[in-house]
Symmetry: C2
Subunit: 136 residues, 2 copies
DNA sequence: CAGAATCCCATTGGATACTG
DNA sequence: CAGTATCCAATGGGATTCTG
């Protein structure tokens, strides 16, 4: 199963990915990795509005597969960014919510999003210019 | 060759990855992707100190492969975050530097890094707790 | 020095089917 | 509803080799 991360404790897979920076390169890389993950950001953003149930999240984050939503939520829960509450009903309901730590991430995320939004036009333009010069 | 991104213009690979959010999900995702990329951040951080040549970068970002440094620099150049200057010497020297846009990214990056640094202990602790409960 | 090209395995992640 | 398990295609990225 690919949900378990016991691998990440050895820090060495053999070849695969660097794993290098994970340990000795940049001590905060593993934290940043979660931000780089597209789905994680989407999930955190959605949960910022309030506690949400599994399928509601799945519906809102249109395009995410069931598997990735599960995996992403597990990661966020493991990191203490998201809490998971099971309601003993039939059928069972599970509610996900941001923890305080999770909420605290929203600010840095907003700063980054603001930068991205503000500079997206320049970046897009730069890409078109680059592609035009390369291709022609 | 995997350096070309003509794929990203169609926005559809067939199955592979979502590519979904790339276009219609989160318009700034493609920008954020660059931040999520471990190497990109490392390169930008290093260039923030001043213009640097290829092999000097490779030496400083210990662990990066030649291929990934090339690919990463191309991406950053395409996005207009990094400039590439070829000095007509023998042997040729190529100097990479942050553009104004590249420099402007440093602030949001710092904010994020500060958050990561400040909260890493909590996250680590949460992970250990989670792993202990799951494993035991 | 600064890359480009090739080879190839490891991880990613969608699709699908099954469970409590 | 809220997952878990399995299968498999596509991508990521290190290692290696070759060039101007």
């Amino acid at each position: 199963m690919d949900v378990t991360d016991s691998r990440s404790q050895t820090g060495e897979t053999g070849r695969g990915r660097p794993s290098a920076l994970q340990e000795f390169k940049c001590p905060i890389r593993d934290v940043l990795d979660r931000v780089g993950d597209a789905w994680s950001v989407l999930v955190v953003t959605n949960l910022a509005e309030g506690p949400t149930r599994f399928n509601e999240l799945k519906r809102r984050i249109e395009g995410i597969s069931q598997r990735m939503l599960t995996v992403t939520l597990r990661h966020l829960e493991r990191d203490g960014l998201v809490s998971r509450t099971v309601m003993p009903t039939t059928p069972p309901q599970v509610e996900y919510a941001l923890t305080d730590l999770g909420h605290s991430l929203c600010r840095p995320l907003d700063v980054l999003a603001d930068w991205a939004t503000a500079n997206q036009p320049l970046i897009r333009a730069s890409r078109e210019r680059y592609d035009a010069e390369s291709g022609g």
